[in-house]
Amino acid sequence: MAGFQNSKGKSVLLKMVKGIQENKAYLGEIDGLIGDGDHGMNMNKGFTLFEKRYADKDLGFTEGLYELGSILFTEIGGSMGPIYGTVFMDTASAGENLEEITVKDLADMLAAGLDGLEEIVEARVGDKTLMDTISPAVDSLLESAESGRGFDEALPRMKEAARKGRDSTKDMVAKFGRASRLGERSRGALDAAAVSCCIILENMADGILEMLLP
């Protein structure tokens, strides 16, 4: 399986938006267990703003991903705005000149997004944050690229890695964010951003797979 056309990637972004919208209440619920309870609300606000603003405009994958990141960064605020904003903008920037995006390209782009994230946050894998979802997902995609897998094999593997990462946050003790105040008591609940990150990556993968259907 070859790559997908960057210019046709708007459907992938809309799939990601839908994923967040459908999970707004769920994300709020999980966040409410050990955090502020506003994660679903904030994410939904940013993603929906993007959807409305670009409803009638043609957008490529990287172009749109950059705009989505920029909206989150400049208009959502808090910590999630800059965090997801950086991931999306850096991921998009790394692929902005590509006409066709291959597994290797997507892996390198997401790795650039992860690099950008590591520059602005101290959290690493094991700290019960979205890092636990995105990091193994990127590793999986990089490994698939090296092994020469196509999207049809690489993306299901990436989704599996993201889900495992998300679930791993359940048994962790939070070291960052509002949940860190609970210490040991944060164990047993998923990290809300690790969950939203998984929703985003899974929908990105599904969107790409749908686009590549014959």
């Binding site: 409410g32 502020d36 309870g37 506003d38 609300m41 904030n42 960064f73 400049t74 208009e75 959502i76 605020g77 808090g78 910590s79 705005g81 800059p82 965090i83 950086t86 602005i120 946050v121 960052f176 509002r178 860190s180 105040r181 609970l182 210490g183």
Partner: protein, 331 residues
């Protein structure tokens, strides 16, 4: 939840509308709905900007006015303002001599200010920052850069704002504000939790009959949870945390700032201040100026913070400057 609300999701906007209507002599709105500026900013000075999440009244917009802050970026409750709001605040405050952004050390604010400063640079506005880290309980002394900013920020704005009003250059304003926060130490004690209106249940828990020493302005964990004590014992704990950290010693002249966290009656703040004064006097530390009131709150949290700043001639001059804001008036 016993609170005075319309739609909890609109509380920040409705609060801003009310604030702008009530203080027409001090503040005015800008093109950005989450940026408020001081009225009649002098045109020949460095701009002074701050910002942060809502729920800390009078901070942050309550310190807009002559000789203090020029523009403020306003966030959702306990959540950093956007990078765009900070950028627009920089633009509202800039008079061509640059902008000093004086804010507290929180990850969201750090990220958004950094991004906004980058965007401002592209538009020809120089922004320099001072990041307040006066909260002694939030990290050990060796990791001072990790400490959060709390009520000591008021003294930083006072010093930086006064320096800007005196015609200081951007570097001089930054230097004075940095000096103020470097010479300031704070600590808080929490007696009850607080509730974000849109969430509806307490943000964390402090059990009846207990108190948390070193609690942060959003309920960040403190250094000790212990049974509720007398005002004298609480004052002792706070003095014991901050005095050796700086350290403040006999002969020092200081500013003491006692702030309620939102739900503490003013009379109790004076009871605490009385005890603090006795303890400092015993140590030979002289209180040059005292502020007692609800200066930096956390919604309806019950509790108190103590901030102490060591003075020199420069800081005395800056602290003595008159100021006219909603949160602080000084003739």
């Amino acid at each position: 939840m016993q609170r005075i609300l319309n739609d909890p999701d609109n509380i920040v906007d409705e609060m801003l509308e009310g604030f702008l209507k009530a203080h027409t002599d001090l503040v005015e709105k800008t093109e950005h709905s989450r940026v408020v500026k001081a009225k009649g900013i002098k045109t020949d000075k460095v701009g002074v900007v701050t910002g942060g999440g809502s729920g800390h009244k009078p901070a942050f917009i309550g310190y807009l006015g002559e000789n203090m802050c020029d523009a403020v970026a306003v966030g959702e409750i306990f959540s950093s303002p956007t990078a765009d709001a900070f950028l627009q605040a920089f633009k509202a405050a800039d008079q061509g001599q640059g902008v000093a952004c004086l804010y507290g050390n929180y990850s969201g604010d750090n990220m958004n200010v950094k991004m906004a400063a980058k965007m401002a640079a592209k538009q020809g506005i120089t922004v320099k920052t001072v990041v307040a880290n006066d909260d002694v309980a939030s990290a050990p002394k060796e990791q001072r850069e990790k400490r959060r900013g709390v009520a000591g920020e008021i003294l930083m704005w006072k010093a930086g704002g006064a320096r800007a009003a005196l015609g200081g250059t951007l570097d001089e304003v930054i230097e004075s504000a940095q000096k103020a926060i470097d010479h300031t130490r704070s600590v808080g004690i929490g007696l009850s939790s607080c509730t974000l209106p849109a969430v509806g249940h307490p943000n964390f828990e402090i059990k009846d009959g207990t108190m948390e020493v070193g609690i942060g302005h959003h309920g960040e964990p403190g250094i000790a949870v212990c049974p509720l004590e007398t005002a004298a014992e609480m004052a002792g704990r706070m003095v014991d945390v901050i005095v050796p950290d700086y350290p403040f010693t006999a002969g020092d002249e200081i500013v003491a700032l006692v702030s309620g966290l939102g739900a503490t009656p003013m009379m109790e703040l004076y009871v605490v201040y009385n005890e603090v004064e006795k303890l400092l006097q015993e140590k030979g530390i002289k209180i040059y100026k005292a502020y007692v009131g609800n200066y930096f709150t956390s919604l309806e949290m019950m509790g108190v913070t103590l901030s102490i700043m060591k003075l020199d001639d420069e800081l005395k001059e800056l602290i003595d400057m008159p100021v006219n804001t909603m949160g602080l008036k000084q003739i």
